[in-house]
Every structure is written in C-alpha cells, then in structure tokens.
C-alpha cells in the first residue's frame, strides 16, 4: 500500500510539473528564509555563551536622576567592584575594564594603532573565559606595565618570535612587557578585544571617586546567589560610600538629596542579556535588540506560512483532477483515513524535496546573507547532533500543515457525485480566497514596512542637522601632533582646497560626557546635567554651526578660557533670561564660566534622540580630532595633500582619518541592516505569494474553461473574459489591503517612535504598496486569463 502511494505521489509530481515546481520552489524558498533567519536569531541568542560562568556573571551599571533628566550608564565608579566583593559574601569576584579607543603601540620599527585596547584588572580571567596559549592567567596582569595579546595580534607584532617577555612601547614611551597570549576574541561577545594592559598601570584605577562613572564593572556571583537580593542592598551601599562625597561636593546629605527626588544608584544586568537588551549610555559597542529577533522570527514564520498556503491552495484547486481517483479508491474500498494518509504522504514527499533544495539555497545564500546581516554565519549542519532529527521533524511538520487541508478536503468527496462527473461543489473556495487574502496581507504589510523604513532612513540621511557634515575629513588622533597642531592647521589652510580646520575633543555623532552644572545664584542642590563639548576657536566655522546670539570663542579674548557657549536647549533648561554675560560653574567647583554666546540647536547625536542641552567649552590641551572642511572639488587630492603634510609633521605616526558623514550614518547601522533584510524578505514573500497565485490562476482558468467557452460562443470579447477572470483575484488583493493597512500602520508607527525625528506616515505609502501588490497579482493572473480567453471555444466545449 505504501509503495503504491509513493508511486502515485511521484507520478503525480511528474505529471503536474508546473504545480510541483511552484510548490517545491515556493516551499524551498520559504524554508531557506526560515533557516537563514533561524541562523541569524540563534547567533544573536548565543552571545556570551563561551563564558563558562555566563549565567552568574553580571555587569553593574549606574543610573542617575537629576535636573535635566535621567540617565543610565554602563560605567561605574572605580572602587565599586572591590567594595562589592568586600561587603557582600555572595559576590565571588569582580573585574573592571576600560577601553581606550586609539592606542599607538610601537615594537621595534613597527607602529600600530590599536583600536580594540582595554585596561583590565588582573581578575579578568576569573570572570571571563579566555584561553591562554602562553603565560599564566593567575599572574599575567598582576604587575603594572604588563600586557596580554590575542593570538593574531601577537602574530602581527612578533611574527614567529616568542612574544612572552617582549617589550612594547606605548605612545608616551612607557615600556610594557608581554605576559600572555590568549585565543582571539570570540565574535559573539558584547565587546571585542585584541589586547589588555594591566589596570595597575593607571592611577585612576586606584581612585576613590564614588561620583564619577569610569569603569565597566563585572561581577561573578556565588552559585545560588540571587541578583535581585544583592541589588536591593545597593542603595545602602551607595549611601555609605557615595554619601560623604556627595555631601562634600554639594553640601547636602544623600537622604536629603534623595528626598528632593534625585537619585543615584547601581544595578545589575546579566551578561547574557547585554547583547539584546542593554541600551545604556556609554555602551562599549552598539548592541542588537531583541525587537529585531522578534520581527525577523515573525517574518520567517509568515514566509513559511505563505509557502504552505500555496500548497494548500493549489492542492485543493487541483482537487477536480484528483476527484475521480478519490471516487474510484473509495468505491474499491478505501476508507477516509487511508486517503488522508495518502495525501499527507504526497505533501510530506514534496516537502522533503523542498527542504533538500532549501539546504542548497541556504548554502548558496549564506555568504550574501552574512554580508547583509553583518554577522559571520555558518550553517555547519553536521556539527550539530540535532540537525538531522530536526530536519526530519521540519519535513513532517511542514508537510502535515501544508497537506492537512487538502487531505481532509479531498478525502471528503462523495464517490457517487465525483464519479458521475458532477462538478465539485464550490465549497472551500471562500477558504481558498481567504488564504490568498492572508498571503497578500502579509506581503503588503512587508511592503509598507520596507517603504517606511526606507523613507525614514532617507529622511535621517538628508535631514538638516543644524551643521554641515559633508566634505568634512576628520583626522584621528590629532594629539600626535602635540604642540604642532596650530602650525599643521596653518600649513593645511595654505591649500585653497582646504576651507577650514579645527582641533576638538568632541564631534557630532560621538559619545559625549555629561557634566553637572550650576547656574550662578542657584542653590547648591540645583544641578543641571549638560552634555559637554571641548573644541577650539574654529569649531563652529568648520562644521557650519550657526550662532543665535553673542559670539563664539575668539583669540582676541584671552579670558575665553573661562567662557562657555550654550545651545538654545541649554538656555531653555537652565531658564536664564538674557543669558549673555551670566555665569555657570561646574558642580562642586568655585570657578565660574561666563556665557558668551548661544549657538542654534544642532543634532550632535543620532536622530533617535532629540537635541539635548549642550555646553561648548574651549579646549586648551591636545585634541582627539581635527575636522577639516575641504572643497567638494578635488577631494582625493585634498586627502593626499593632508596626508603628506601629516607625514611631514609627524613622520612616524600613522595617518588615520574618516569622513564625518560616513561616521554619522554609522549611527543608523542597525536600521540600515534591518532595512536591507526587510527588503530582501518582503521581496521573497511577494515572490512566493505570486507563485501561488500564478498556479491558482492557472487552475481557475482551467476550471472555468467551459464557462469561458460558452461566454465566447455567446459573444464575449477577449477583454470581457480577462476582466472576468481577474476580478476574483483583484477582490482578494483589495480586501488584503484593507487588512494590511491598519496592521502595518500600527507596527510602523511603533517603530518610528524610536526616533525623535521622524517622517509622517503618508497615505501614499499605503496606496503605493497596495497598487504594487495589485499590479503584481494582476500581471500574474492576466497571463492565464489571456491564454484562456484566446482559446477557441469549440475546443473547450467539446471536452465537456
């Protein structure tokens, strides 16, 4: 019996080639999408799993609520870690890390700029799992001026030499001894390192500041210890240690300060949750978001559903052709269960072929998808014990889902009727239409989503930010110029393609430090949190930031080192009338700064945020960046000119630069990625849906052959017939629009809420998506309609 069933299944697959093709391709593309998305999601969920103690590792983060808002920071005060271990027995170990973005390191004649450089406590390896290739984890970072390197970095500096006890020189000339080599940083880590230097080398690690958040602090809890219980003890701890320092700074006790509604606290987040859930200030790297895991999972399920629906629809539509077989089998004694099993078997077989094809598709697409998603994904089917069983399970589940409706539908035919050649009652055709509506609803939702994400990203890229980020080349590590920064600038400006240049520590799009300020005459507890930006005299000229009133820093006024410039938001928050000439001071400091000017608000952060209050201060020391405004003509010449000048000034320091607009668009990298993935999958979804529609239209045309013949015999024109056949599907797509629009509006409106600056969702987007779906559907259907309409009516009538 099974053999007979398989045989007839294969013959059916072969006989109805178009049908089989549509189903196998559709399901294969659907399954391939699901596998790709699954790989993506699994990758996101596997972050930090390489840490043996991952379940017990927590990062401590701090929060503060003061005038000007609330903020949560990934960084904590220097003494926190050690204090936690000392005070709470459930805290087994702590470690602190601090990144330094650009570290110039010299070994013999080689100089490299290390961007993944961290200072770390010697306890690093008690918390994180890092395998040592050389050296001893117990002692590697114990002494000041010691470093450990990853395997690749060691190779970069030392080639085949033994790195242990080699000496490298940091930028300030201090020698550091290599004490260990560890395996390269795993990809799925929330921070990526090449090199750690001992924390004992820097003084700030020993500082007893409780009000400055500097280090990333990680702790390991003892087995069975509860993080919530521990967290509940933190307010007391803060009071005990930070309280006296707060009193010293502000002249107010912690209790009184808290009573005013202010807060300063520490909290725990589990290491595993950081990658998908943590969006604090000062994150070491931008994290992903669980939201995207959900969105992509839902898309995957929908695409698979669309493919399954194709199968259901085509199989039931085709039922007319199978009805005789069902009748004969029933007459010969088959019961319904046997027929259901037979049809399920066919659908499982078809699914099996699809999944084989899907695996091939995944292999082909994986490199592109990795590119698209910015991840390094591997299918590695056979490294996993569960692969084969789960594939078999998938075949069964998808096969049964897709096959169940046709199986029950077909097996319910009454032999008397079907053998008499009576047309199958049109029962179930509303169900089929419903499924088509469902497919197109999803496709339209995805279309609308794609359009809106695209529009929003466009809007962000082109939005007026209040400064000009175009043609601004930024030289990194400008401090390498030391005292020659000014002369370097002057040398550059001699070239007529160089329009302006400035030395600055802060740039739009970079992370800002925020500082508490106190306006003149305000009470000591009235503190305001303001973002700070340190730059030189030419900063606003170079970035084309507009003054609202007053003036900017100028060499003409030597007293400007004690002056500040505010943005309009800051004036609003501080609530100062006629701000020019008024004074501000850093919290806890007696030195006051005079307000000399107000700049118009500009977006110095991503457009996710609204513009925050900002203080601009004059930078007197060395600076991190040198933004250089260049002419839009001869850009490559300008770049090489600047490079050559740099070589002339500091011949043995590497020249590194970026363009400000490029850097700025990186703020939207996750949206950019989402947009691309979204586009790809919505195109696939509509492709699979159209494929199904194509098949369905073919069967409808065939089913109505006689009707078409009669109509033509009675004088219907070709266009009449095409209209007749397209009407049904047009109706489906229109209903799909009605369903899709509100759903898409709801979700996209929510998505846009993440942006402080966003587009209005326009009706046109919906109309465009709807029309596009309609056009695709009509094109698909019309092909068959034309064929059916052109056919000679005598032919179609003779067959009946």
């Amino acid at each position: 019996m099974l053999k007979n069933n398989i045989r007839i299944a294969i013959r059916n697959l072969r006989k109805y080639k178009a049908f089989s093709f549509i189903n196998i391709i559709g399901l294969a593309v659907g399954v391939a999408c699901v596998v790709l998305i699954l790989l993506y999601v699994l990758d996101d969920l596997s972050y930090e799993n390489f840490n043996r103690n991952a379940g017990r590792i927590y990062r401590v983060y701090s929060s503060a609520r003061i005038e000007g808002g609330e903020m949560k920071m990934a960084v904590t005060p220097p003494p926190l870690g050690a204090t936690l271990v000392r005070e709470f027995p459930e805290v087994k170990q702590y470690t602190r890390v601090m990144p330094t973005a650009n570290m110039l390191i010299r070994y013999k004649n080689n100089v490299f700029n290390e961007t993944r450089f961290f200072w770390a406590d010697s306890t690093l390896f008690d918390v994180f799992t890092m395998s040592f290739i050389k050296g001893n984890p117990r002692t590697a970072l114990n002494e000041p001026h010691t470093v450990i390197l990853t395997e690749s970095l060691a190779k970069k500096y030392f080639g085949n030499e033994d790195p242990i006890d080699q000496v490298m020189n940091f930028e300030d000339g201090t020698p550091y001894t290599v004490k260990g080599v560890i395996k390269d940083c795993p990809v799925n880590s929330h921070f990526h390192y090449d090199m750690f230097a001992s924390m004992a080398s820097i003084d700030v690690s020993k500082a007893n500041f409780w009000l400055n958040d500097i280090f990333y602090t990680y702790i390991v809890l003892k087995k069975g210890a509860s993080p919530t219980v521990l967290e509940a003890k933190f307010p007391e701890l803060i009071k005990k240690y930070a309280g006296p320092q707060l009193y010293q700074a502000l002249g107010i006790t912690m209790d009184d300060w808290r009573k005013k509604g202010y807060a300063y606290g520490m909290h725990l987040q589990s290491l595993n949750s950081i990658h998908l859930y943590s969006h604090l200030e000062n994150e070491m790297e931008p994290n992903s978001d669980i939201k995207y895991v959900y969105i992509f999972s839902v898309i995957a399920i929908f695409i698979l559903l669309i493919a399954c629906i194709n199968f259901m629809n085509l199989a039931t539509a085709r039922s007319v052709m199978r009805s005789k077989e069902v009748g004969v089998r029933k007459v010969l004694g088959s019961n319904r269960a046997q027929l259901i099993i037979q049809f399920l078997l066919e659908s499982i077989m078809l699914t099996f072929f699809s999944i084989m094809l899907a695996i091939v598709l995944v292999e082909i697409c994986l490199p592109y998808f990795s590119d698209l998603s910015g991840k390094q994904l591997h299918s590695a089917y056979f490294n996993n014990l569960f692969t084969i069983p789960s594939l078999i399970l998938t075949v069964l589940i998808v096969g049964i889902i897709a096959g169940s409706y046709p199986a029950f539908f077909l097996s319910s035919f009454r032999p008397v009727k079907v053998l008499k050649g009576k047309a199958i009652a049109e029962k179930g055709s509303w169900f089929r239409s419903g499924l088509v509506v469902f497919q197109f609803s999803i496709s339209i939702i995805l279309f609308i989503g794609t359009f809106i994400i695209d529009n929003q990203l466009n809007y962000i890229q082109k939005a007026k930010l209040g400064f000009n980020k175009e043609q601004v080349l930024v030289v990194k590590r400008a401090w390498a110029l030391e005292n020659h920064a000014q002369t370097f600038k002057e040398a550059l400006l001699k070239n007529h393609n160089i329009i302006n240049a400035s030395c600055t520590n802060d740039l739009p799009g970079q992370i800002y430090s925020q500082t508490l300020f106190k306006p003149e005459n305000a009470s000591s507890s009235q503190q305001y949190l303001l973002a700070t930006m340190f730059s030189d005299y030419d900063f606003i000229k170079t970035l084309d930031i507009k003054l609202a009133s007053g003036r900017y820093f100028s060499k003409k006024y030597p007293s400007d080192s004690l002056a500040v410039v505010l943005n309009q938001k800051a004036v609003q928050m501080l609530d100062i009338k006629d701000p020019i000439g008024k004074r501000l001071s850093f919290s806890g400091s007696n030195i006051s700064y005079q307000i000399i000017g107000i700049v118009k608000d500009f977006n110095f952060e991503s457009l996710h945020q609204s513009i925050r209050p900002l203080v601009l201060l004059l930078n007197r020391g060395q600076s991190s960046y040198m933004p250089i405004k260049i002419s839009s003509k001869n850009i490559s010449e300008s770049v090489s000119f600047i490079k050559n000048e740099w070589k002339r000034f500091v011949p043995n320091k590497p020249f590194e630069y970026f363009f400000l607009d490029d850097e700025f668009s990186k703020l939207y990298l996750s949206e950019q990625k989402t947009s691309e993935i979204f586009t790809a999958f919505s195109v696939l979804a509509i492709f699979i849906a159209s494929l199904g529609l194509f098949g369905l239209a073919a069967f409808t045309a065939e089913r109505r052959t006689k009707e078409i013949g009669i109509r033509k015999a009675l004088g219907a024109s070709i266009s009449n017939i095409i209209l007749l056949l397209s009407k049904e599907f047009t109706k489906c797509v229109l209903i799909a629009n009605v369903i899709a629009w509100p759903v898409a509006y709801y979700f996209m409106n929510n998505w846009l809420k993440d942006f402080a600056y966003r587009i209005h969702i326009s009706l046109w987007t919906f109309i465009l998506a709807g029309c596009l779906a309609l056009i695709i559907a009509l094109l698909t259907v019309t092909l068959h309609a034309i064929k059916a309409a052109m056919a000679n009516p005598i032919k179609s009538l003779r067959y009946e």
Partner: protein
C-alpha cells in the same frame, strides 16, 4: 442477496426535494443476472448506488447478504463493499496515474492481501481477460474496449459475490460491447450475481430478469425462462 422493503431515496438541495426512489421493493437472489432499465432520471443509477453501498437510502429497509445495512456508517459500508462488490462503470473510471496492473491490484491492496497472492490473482485475471500483454501500460494508452476489460478485471479480481455494472457498454462500439457482455455472462455462469443498469434492449437480453423503473417506482419485472426462482 439483496432485499429492499419500501425503500425511498430523497435528495434535498436548498430549494428542491427530489424523490429518486419511491417505495422500492426488490429482491435479488444469488447467481441472478438482473438488468435495470428505464428512461433517464428514473432512479436507475440511484438504485445501483444504494446496492453498491455507496449511498444510504433515506428510509425503508435494505438487506445485503442477510444484513440490514441501511443505517451503516461509511466505514462499515466500505468494509462490506470492498470484500463483496465489484463495479464496472460506463466511463471505466480507471486511475490515469496507475498502470493496468496497478489499477487491477488496487482492490486487493485495500483488502490487505499479500504481495505474492496479489501477483497471482492479478496475473490470473489479466490473462483471462486477455489484456496481460498491456499490463505496464497506462489507461490512456489503451483503446476503449481494452480499458473496459481492465475495468472488468479490476471489478472481479477480488472475486466479489456481486458485480454492479452501470451501462458497461455505453462508451463502446458494438463489437467491444458484445465482448464485455459475454464476459459478464460468463462470470454469471460461474456464480457471480450481476446487476446491470442499461439503456440498451440488446444488452438486457443477456439478463435473466429485467426490472423497469419509472419515476422512482418499479413498474414491471420480466422474468425469462432461463432462470427460475
């Protein structure tokens, strides 16, 4: 073998109620060859469907093999049917995707007969029907007469007690029609009960008894001298 008592069959659609069979009292004995005749729409096919356990009567009694089966479920009817009844249709109703051999084998599969036994039975019947040389062909590759011989093979392969034939010669030319009728007669002589619906007076001549139906009623029953109850 078959006995109906005041059997009625009423089809109801949304608007119309059609009485297909009205107070039908028929008795058919084993080894009989009965022809059912009547104009289109008189209820011949409905009667055959009820006899074939493809349809239940609306009311009245229907005894098949000494069992009152009018209230049987679909599954019960299927079990009774597959073991005892063979069908021959006007339009052959062969499954296009199966070969001649597989089509004939199908009822044996549903009876759960072993593969060896099946092979023997199928080969036997195909040889007898002189269609063995076509066993690996598909139905579409055969002539109408050949197709009907396959259909008859399929109807008799499981050695049913009753063969129901619905205008078995309707789609055949006279030579092929004659051949099919001869096969049926031969089967009847070997002991199989045959009930045949036909329009053709010529075909009805092969039967022992002709039942005339009109508007769902049995109007006459003509016995022939060949067979006596």
């Amino acid at each position: 073998m078959i006995k109906t008592v005041n059997m009625r069959k009423i089809y109801t659609t949304e608007e119309v109620e059609t009485t297909a069979l009205n107070s039908v009292n028929i008795e058919i004995n084993e080894k009989e060859f009965v022809a059912i005749m009547g104009p289109s729409g008189c209820g011949k096919s409905t009667l055959l469907n009820v006899f074939g356990l493809l349809d239940n009567p609306t009311d009245g009694e229907f005894h098949f093999l000494e069992q009152e089966v009018s209230k049987y479920s679909e599954r019960q009817r299927a079990n009774l049917r597959k073991a005892n009844i063979g069908f021959v249709f006007q339009s052959f109703n062969l499954i296009d995707e199966l070969t001649v051999y597989e089509n004939v084998e199908l009822p044996l599969l549903y009876l759960g007969i072993s593969s060896n036994e099946r092979n023997k039975m199928v080969t036997n019947v195909l040889e007898r029907m002189q269609i063995m040389h076509r066993k690996d062909h598909f139905p579409q590759q055969l002539s109408g007469g050949q197709q009907q011989r396959v259909a008859v093979s399929r109807a008799v392969v499981a050695k049913p007690k009753l063969i129901l034939a619905d205008e078995p010669t309707g789609n055949l030319d006279s030579a092929n029609g004659e051949e099919v009728m001869n096969i049926l007669t031969q089967l009847n002589e070997e002991g199989t009960t045959i009930v045949m619906v036909t329009h053709s007076p010529h075909d009805s001549e092969f039967a022992h008894r002709i039942i005339h139906l009109f508007d769902g009623h049995v109007v006459t029953e003509n016995y022939k001298e060949k067979f006596h109850v």
